[in-house]
């Protein structure tokens, strides 16, 4: 019985946490949030050096060859600091190439992706919230490997050297150097820490990948859940810290029982969910039969908690939390992203009901 993180995992969290404490203070975070591209090359490079970008790439391809649980505990820390940039799409695409790429594809891409010298992303959503593999309509013609059509809410497509695309039938294909044949329309993003755009493929060459859209979807759900846990937990911390420094009516506001009970209730909503994302990640690594349902439950549950925590933390701060420059809003907006990206919680609750056999599909 060992349901806790290994020394190595704790050390990994700690290293990333310290990096982000040092390199991503509130002011810098807001600068990136407000920037045109939502990316910080220096931070990217630091994460690459730490191995974070190649966490799921095998060692023989320059990665550190760890599993989803490791990636998820790092994602918790990224969420804790609302770390900006293309990491989510990059990590997911790296996983798909590592698990489904040919030897040649793996050779070509994984070392550069792990080193951060190339960037990867995923293109999954279609219009009207069609995030799930069985809803994808983008077709690969029988005549051969060319894509034509649109995908939306694609993470950082203009920066991507390689892109994993979900296609009709729930399969995945690989598009190399997509910029040459793809039109990108940037969207005005609520969450300045994760930018998305609409893309249109026009006879874009692609190659098959031997891993499924379902598996990539589950990976995304786990990483979003982990990110959301880190973010939600941080919202609790930020609200508590504020309550311990702010005075009103001659008292610390944290000494008012009304606020104390609200913060206690909030902590009770959030804190127990830590093991839920751990287990979903562990199932992804080791228990394939449980993995899809646990990923759905974790994503639905924790992302709802994150939005709730973001709203409660804002209220606990009063006016200052409502300002752009104080920066608390970054977490609330990240919470909305985590909740919506890959499908809203009610969609995954419904999926979990179907997988449990409660309902016809």
């Amino acid at each position: 019985m060992k349901f806790e993180l290994s020394e190595q995992q704790l050390a990994l969290q700690d290293t990333v946490d310290r990096l982000l404490q040092e390199r991503l203070d509130r002011q810098r975070l807001l600068r990136i949030f407000d920037s045109d591209d939502g990316h910080d090359a220096e931070l990217w490079q630091a994460l690459a050096e730490m191995g974070v970008l190649g966490i799921l790439a095998p060692e023989e391809h320059g990665g550190i060859g760890l599993g989803m649980l490791d990636a998820a505990v790092v994602a918790e820390i990224l969420g804790r600091h609302a770390a900006p940039g293309p990491i989510l799409g990059h990590t997911l695409a790296t996983l798909a190439i590592a698990e489904g790429g040919s030897d040649e594809q793996r050779e070509r891409w994984l070392p550069a992706l792990a080193a951060g010298t190339a960037m990867a992303t995923v293109a999954l959503d279609e219009a009207d919230g069609r995030w799930q593999p069985d809803e994808w309509r983008l077709a690969v013609p029988a005549t051969g490997g060319e894509l034509s059509g649109g995908k939306t809410n694609v993470l950082y497509p203009a920066m991507a050297d390689v892109m994993v695309v979900g296609v009709a039938g729930g399969a995945l294909v690989l598009v190399e150097n997509p910029g040459q044949t793809m039109a990108v329309r940037h969207l005005p993003c609520l969450d300045g820490t994760r930018r998305v755009a609409h893309v249109d493929f026009d006879a874009t060459p692609c190659q098959p990948l031997a891993t499924s859209g379902e598996r990539l979807r589950d990976a995304a759900l786990v990483l979003l859940a982990a990110d959301a846990f880190g973010g939600a937990r941080r919202c609790v911390d930020l609200a508590v810290e504020y309550a311990l420094e702010r005075e009103q009516f001659g008292r610390l506001i944290g000494s008012f029982q009304g606020l104390k009970h609200q913060l206690a209730n909030l902590a009770v909503e959030v804190e127990p969910a830590r093991g839920l994302y751990w287990y979903a990640a562990h199932a992804f690594d080791a228990l394939p039969e449980e993995a899809p349902r646990m990923a759905a439950i974790a994503k639905a549950h924790i992302c709802d908690r994150f939005v709730h925590a973001g709203r409660e933390a804002t209220q606990a701060h009063g006016g200052i939390g409502y300002t752009w420059e104080y920066g608390l809003h970054v977490w609330l907006k990240r919470a909305v992203f985590d909740k919506v990206f890959m499908g809203v919680p009610s969609v995954h609750r419904r999926r979990s009901a179907v997988m449990a056999g409660w309902a016809a599909a």
């Binding site: 005005p188 209220q315 009063g318 919506v340």
Partner: protein, 394 residues
Amino acid sequence: MDLSYGAEYEAFRAEVRAFLDESWSPEDRRDPERIRAFRGQATERGYLFRNIPRRFGGSEQPLDVLKGQVITEEFRRARAPMEPPGIGVSMLVPTLLERGEPWQQEKFIPPTLAGEVDWAQGYSEPGSGSDLASVRTRGELVDGEWVINGQKIWTSNAQNCKYMFALVRTEPDAPKHEGISYLLLDLEQPGITIRPLKMITGQSGFNEVFFDDARTPADWIVGKRGEGWQVSRTTLKHERTGIGGVENYLDQFDKLIALAGSCTRNGRPAIEDPVIQDRLAELEGYLQAHKFSTYRQLSMNLGGKDPGPVSFMNKLVVTDIGHRIAALAQEIIGDDSLLLPSYEHGHKVGNERWMNQFFGSLGVSIAGGTSNIQRNIIAERGLGLPREGQGDGK
């Protein structure tokens, strides 16, 4: 039960409507001159500035809540302008009428009513929050002028205002609530710096105002030295009455239904999803309850009766309804909530405009006294529970 206003008021309504048909068309909205002229005519007829004496530019009508309601309804229907928005009309003028010197009333009220000058409110300070009496901005009387130093925050629209009414600590040795004066001052002077505050939605509605030896004449004070706290209470009372704008929320609910009809969820209109229907119907229960609660309060106020503890609850009720609308809208628009609602660089704003409600509903729960302050008021004044620190039997 009679939700109609009765024959007398329907006749009045017809009169207002005829006036509007004749004197206003919605295209006039963009012409400031037309608006000014229209307000003059409407005031002449007794429709605007009803509780303000004629000598200051008001129409000096007897109090008649129902006439007020009819006017609001008809002006809204015709999209005609009512009194100029802003706290000059809603807060400063009532305060001056109650506590101002005659010369102050004559100097400040008419141009405020005419919309010629706007006012900023200088109450909140960084660190004061709901505890408005913790004012630290200081004023000293030097050579017949107040010299003011400090900082205010959450002043709406300050960069467009000519004047400010402000709470300033002028008696540093007096107890907290007795050391504050209510000063008027001109914002267009070198001692004042205005910095816009960008809000969570990306828009700038509020400002910080810095005072660095700002000056105002010795007699630009309302009430006596040290009475500023009481003077400001008359104003706040004005801000905090009003029955919570149920029409606004009913409108929003209608729009939410339309939204649910137009958005897709699992490949079908969201409104056909039984989970969404259940949550819409639950929300409608709260909303209809508040609607009829509002009618009941209006009706009782008309008759000079006390509607009871519910009067203290309206703000929390609408805050809760606003949260519910926001949460449901966010669920319904799905992917569109990934977009920034206030982006204005050529991108057409679609369903993500509902994210303004998502954030705005948080703003409502913070502005004008946080929800926890409201809960204290309800518990103590509405339910009769002991005030903080009382009832401890020691």
